[in-house]
Amino acid sequence: MTERLDGPQAPGGDELAAGGSPGPAETDSDVARPPATDTDTDTDTGADTSADTATDPHPADTTGAATAPRPAGGTATTRLGPSPKMAVLFLLPALLLLAAWVIYPIIYSIFRSLFDAAGDRFVGLENYAAIFSDSGTLTTIRNNIIWVVVAPLIVTVLGLIFAVLTERIRWATAFKLILFMPMAVSLLAAGVIFRLVYEQDPDKGVANAVITTVHDTFSSSQGYPGARPRENDQAPVVLKDGDVVTRQPVQPGQQVLIPLVGLKPDAVKDATPAKTAAAGGLSGTVWLDVVHGGGGTVNQIDGTEKGLAGVTVEAVADGKVKATTETAADGTFYFSGLPAGSYDVRLPQSNFEAAFNGLTWLGPTLITPAIIGAYIWVWAGFAMVLIAAGLSAIPRDALEAARIDGATEWQVFRRITVPLLAPVLLVVFVTMVINVLKVFDLVFIIAPGSVQPQANVIALEMWRVSFGGGGNQGMGSALAIFLLILVLPFMIFNIRRFRRDER
């Protein structure tokens, strides 16, 4: 992908070669050139240095971009230094490499995308049509849109906030260093880290550990999560909308048996053995009808089975709760003073609510936001460093003047800092957009196999279709070209901006 994204620069390289040749004719006339070179260096300080180097570390490209404006500069100049011929000679290896590694692959990809999987049948634009008719691929496009809308914006805003704040604290460098650190981690390793962070089990996944800890401070779950009636027709109680209810209505004077299962006998090891409730009024027993090691009579209280203490029990008649009580240590409960009539005995759902187990980060619904979170962790530091560099280049007197005029800090930030930083912010934003369009590794690593289709993005689908088992390089090439077309506008935008800056 990286090579392909260099594509738009290739014309720049060509232009340079073309621009080099008119040079000789104009060589003799002017001495204005050295200052021009100076201007170059000037513009290159501050924000633009970092933007330039970060976006364009390729030596060949930088030369291309920097030299290109020369013919545009127009006025005849006298060259110092070696002749243009020499320049061409030195640029030739880079040009050859660019042609072999960038231009040829792009052209071949276009060509290949017009053929079928085996590569011997011409299918025209069928592969491109397939991109928009296959629901799986449409999901990847949808995900890419979510990525492009959300990730660059958050990264830029966070970077801005960090940059502005770190300007004012004492240990700014240390803080920046820490924030920048994730950049030193490879995306693959970052993916592995976040796969663990998002683990469902709060004992393993940090994200859920934090959430459950916060949750449990405010509401702790009690009772017997997982307990439920036995699933057969003989069981005297059944599950109804989450509540455990007696199958038959009962009258005062009866002793109700409420056997529950689904808990480990070891979990209530220390509880009192269950007892049959004494007669009188409406009474009964709630107990765990499971014997360690099997055996025991189903639906009857055997000697060792444990009572479930503290379970809320309701007596319900005509849909209204008439009385509420709680079970004693041995699992027995009594309703005293109930008028005669028939009642349903109900154990409300609150007795059995499962402990809050955090969010399913790696499930189909949260997977894309979760991966974007990991992406932000990696890139926010980078954005911060770029923006901080831009910030340091802002003329202090403008800020001072505003403060002296009585502007609040917010006004200074809103009306002066941000507008002055706008070019840098734009560079960061556009760079992030390009970067996000081709996101691959994080999605590949973080999403478990079962949610890969929901988390899929175009770059990953391209690899999967071509090499990851699909074996359809025609379709893969079509996806690659599609991605290239998506990236192109942003690339062109970026290049234009650089040119403008250099003038």
């Binding site: 469902q200 480990k264 006998p265 090499f467």
Partner: protein, 442 residues
């Protein structure tokens, strides 16, 4: 910002893959015709044979002992080359360069077809064929064939019709091994769930564990003939026999108490995490997977045969299912030595030398189970022999990889979706059929 080291690595990897893929696709000009070496197999003094297989470490050491036995018997000299995990990437360039190993052990029967199409394989000699006829059922002969000629023989098997369970969980709940699917669901699993232990830990994030489960249920409920037809896509995935199998799977998938973490938990669990959940964390009682689980069991600190036990996959219909995976030996260079080595590997004699080594299971029905060093392997071998004609190869490995072997596509994806929503059997069948139709026509 376009150039990040990690992405470049990703690109480099993709390029390497591309190079590997390209290099394996163009066909290789056939050197010699399909003549068979019919000369005497011994003695082969002075003959050298090169054999390539993916095994390393202990498996390689075991295999080298077998090669040594062959050397002693015939006087030939055998060198072993390890292909690493990706056998295709290793063999592709060597085939193209006209310098393949004499014998290669392929991890998938699908590769036999692929290399036969490239004219990279030599048909087996009559001596090898007679060994195959003696020791293997016709099914295996067909599996190693392409275009009417026999090219390969299954030399090592992986047994995929097993359920691993944790003895202490079974003791606590007071349950026994099940012999039928209904017992497994209705008694064993239900009692385990009632006693508060999740009966199954599924590694559903690894799609192939679900295809293995489906294959066992399907082979058992629909029978070997239907299994073969479905594997070749001669009957559609919308067939009623598939419905039956999926309904049976839904008896597990439809109950959240039956799976550790419910279906969403299962879908986030990779292989071999589910093995750890059973034997390391002791949160669940059973794992439905192949014999190679033993390695992960060991890492979880459980002892195979004591805490970690196996039961044969229970019958979900008339057939006791035995689904095997395994490695297929092929001849790539026509030489006396190569044919003789394959003959030895396919023979009872060679199989028994190998069987005495740990970590080996023979698909050869004449290799006596008494040769295996431990009870567990012996038991596995017995199920293979007793199942005789109805032993089958892993169906998803026989399917085109776009359907049966790709993360997030085809069978893997749809069975995962089925686990997520086990009510919509018909919808899943239609999706399976649509993808199968696409993959098989290519």
């Amino acid at each position: 910002m376009r150039k990040l080291p990690p992405l470049q690595i990703g690109v480099a990897a993709a390029l390497a893959l591309a190079a590997a893929a390209c290099s394996s696709s163009p066909s290789e000009p056939a050197t010699t015709g399909g003549g068979t070496a019919s000369s005497e197999a011994k003695p082969l003094a002075g003959v050298t044979v090169e054999v390539a297989a993916k095994w390393t470490g202990d498996e390689q050491a075991s295999f080298e002992k077998v090669l040594k036995a062959f050397e002693e018997k015939t006087g030939a000299k055998v060198t072993y080359a390890s292909t690493g995990e990706d056998t295709g990437a290793y063999l592709g360039p060597r085939i193209q360069g006209g310098n393949p190993p004499d014998v290669a052990i392929l991890p998938q029967p699908g590769l036999v077809q692929q290399y036969a199409d490239q004219n990279a394989l030599k048909p087996l000699s009559p001596e090898v064929l007679s060994q195959i006829d003696q020791n293997y059922t016709p099914y295996w002969k067909e599996l190693g064939s392409a275009g009417g000629k026999v090219y390969g023989v299954l030399v090592k098997a992986a047994h995929k019709s097993l359920i691993w369970y944790r003895q202490s969980a079974f003791d606590d709940a007071g349950v026994q091994e099940a012999t039928t699917w209904d017992d497994l669901i209705g008694k064993t699993a239900q009692t385990l769930a009632d006693s508060g232990t999740a009966p199954f830990a599924l590694c559903a994030a690894s799609g192939w564990t679900l295809t293995d489960l489906f294959e066992n249920v399907y082979l058992s409920s629909a029978g070997p003939e239907n299994y073969d037809k479905l594997a070749k896509h001669e009957i559609p995935w919308t067939d009623p026999s598939v419905t039956t199998a999926l309904e049976k799977m839904a008896q597990i998938f439809g109950k959240k108490d039956f799976m550790l973490g419910g279906s969403s938990g299962a879908l986030q669990t990779d292989f071999p995490t589910c093995v750890t959940q059973v034997y390391g964390q002791k949160k669940a009682a059973m794992v439905i997977e192949a014999d190679f689980v033993a390695a992960s069991v060991g890492q979880s600190g459980a002892q195979v045969g004591e805490e970690a036990k196996i039961m044969a996959f229970p019958k979900a219909g008339d057939t006791a299912p035995v689904v095997l995976g395994g490695d297929v030996g092929v001849v790539m260079k026509d030489s006396k030595g190569a044919q003789a080595l394959l003959e030895f590997l396919a023979s009872k004699e060679g199989g028994e030398v190998w069987a005495k080594q740990p970590g080996y299971l023979s698909p050869n029905r004449n290799v006596s189970p008494d040769n295996y060093p431990n009870e567990l392997t012996k038991k596995l071998a017995e199920t293979i022999i007793s199942s005789g004609e109805s032993v089958r190869y892993d169906m998803s490995d026989l399917a085109p990889s776009a359907f049966g072997g790709t993360d997030g596509k085809g069978e893997w994806k749809h069975l995962q979706d089925f686990l997520r929503n086990p009510k919509d059997i018909k919808g899943i069948q239609e999706k399976l059929e649509a993808d199968a139709a696409k993959a098989y026509t290519k």
